[in-house]
């Protein structure tokens, strides 16, 4: 067993564990697609054969927050549905990540009025923002890869 730089035994072992867990988590993402609006069409395109999201390991949507670890907020969030978003986010178990898919979920999109929330990050913390109205499927895959990099480098709290 190697002695770490600050004299604490096992640091190198923990960092290897971090990397192994990160590798495992990033390639087996279970999404919860919280689909509201037009971006849902691009989500359907991404999930299907042409721009397959399954080859990145994220191909299985779980429609229960208890069984998923990635919340895809797809489309405009109105004030009427904010309690539902909060409840779904709180029901998910750790570790969990949130992706704001599309311009409306990131910052409100073209809708700046009495009914819409300017970005879902005013309700729940967001990890990756995917811009576009709606984003091309390639942009979504790029966002997913960035999220995977983020998951890989996340430190485990012990």
């Amino acid at each position: 067993m190697e002695i770490g730089s600050d004299g604490i035994p096992g640091v190198a072992l923990t960092s290897k564990l971090d990397l192994a867990l990160g590798w495992g988590r990033k390639y087996s993402l279970f999404l919860y697609p919280f689909v509201t609006a037009c971006c849902g069409m691009e989500y359907m395109s991404v999930a299907c054969a042409h721009y397959d999201i399954d080859r990145f390991g994220a191909g299985l949507p779980r429609f229960s927050p208890r069984q998923s670890d990635l919340l895809f907020v797809v489309g405009t969030i109105s004030h009427k549905i904010t309690p539902v978003v909060q409840i779904v986010y709180e029901q998910m178990t750790e570790p969990k990540w949130v992706v704001a898919f599309g311009a409306c979920a990131s910052a409100g999109g073209p809708y700046d009025n009495y009914a819409t929330v300017q970005g879902v990050d005013t309700i729940i913390p967001v990890d990756v923002y995917i811009p576009g109205c709606p984003p091309r499927p390639e942009t979504v895959l790029d966002g997913l890869i960035k999220l995977q990099q983020k998951i890989q480098t996340r430190k485990i709290e012990l």
Partner: protein, 193 residues
């Protein structure tokens, strides 16, 4: 041109866009509910009648059942807010007759103080949600509606957003909004080369 002249010959000549003949069923409707309660005109060749508020149910019943009119299909109910004018609101109903392939637009002027009109769900059951939406966004009550609640917005919302005096960006949040923090990547593990 909103006021119908009494003389039928004058009517034929004075119509704004075209010399359009009034359909016979409109004349029968006029006899039924009275000349004061009905005005007809043809903006851009679309038959439009303005009916006064207390005669609307009678008029719609007639339009649905008359043999020449046969307006059996309810299409749309909405309202327009002419702020600054009296009467302020105008409820607009569109009907279609499928067997006769004709359309009609019915307008009802509603003033601001009461903002109320009788419901038409008894004659056209399809108008149920349309009236609820009109109430939700404009605040016009429909007397006799079975379930007049908000439909597009949540119950705690105060005000009627589509009125011209409601500012577009006035939000009424349901949950407490948080300030999104900027995440810095200072807690990461270096991936192997």
């Amino acid at each position: 041109m909103l006021v119908t002249p009494p003389n039928r010959l004058l009517r034929l000549v004075i119509y704004k866009n075209n010399i359009m003949d009034i359909p016979a069923y409109i004349e029968r409707l006029e006899e039924k509910i009275g000349t004061d309660n009905l005005q007809t005109n043809y903006p851009h060749d679309q038959l439009t009648i303005t009916v006064s508020r207390d005669k609307i149910q009678e008029a719609l019943q007639f339009l649905r059942d008359d043999d020449e009119a046969l307006f059996d299909h309810f299409m749309d109910l909405t309202a327009v807010d002419y702020i600054g004018k009296q009467p302020r609101f105008q409820v607009v109903i569109h009907l279609v007759s499928i067997p006769k392939s004709q359309r009609i637009r019915i307008k009802i002027n509603i003033d601001d103080d009461s903002a109320e009109m009788p419901t038409i769900t008894g004659i056209y059951p399809a108008a149920d949600w349309f009236e609820r939406e009109c109430y939700d966004l404009y605040g016009i009550r429909f007397a006799g509606h079975p379930n007049l609640k908000r439909i597009m917005l949540y119950d705690e919302f105060e005000g009627y957003p589509l009125r011209k005096d409601y500012p577009i960006r006035k939000r009424q949040p349901r949950v407490e909004l948080r300030k999104p923090e900027v995440r810095r990547s200072d807690e990461t593990v270096e991936p192997p080369r």
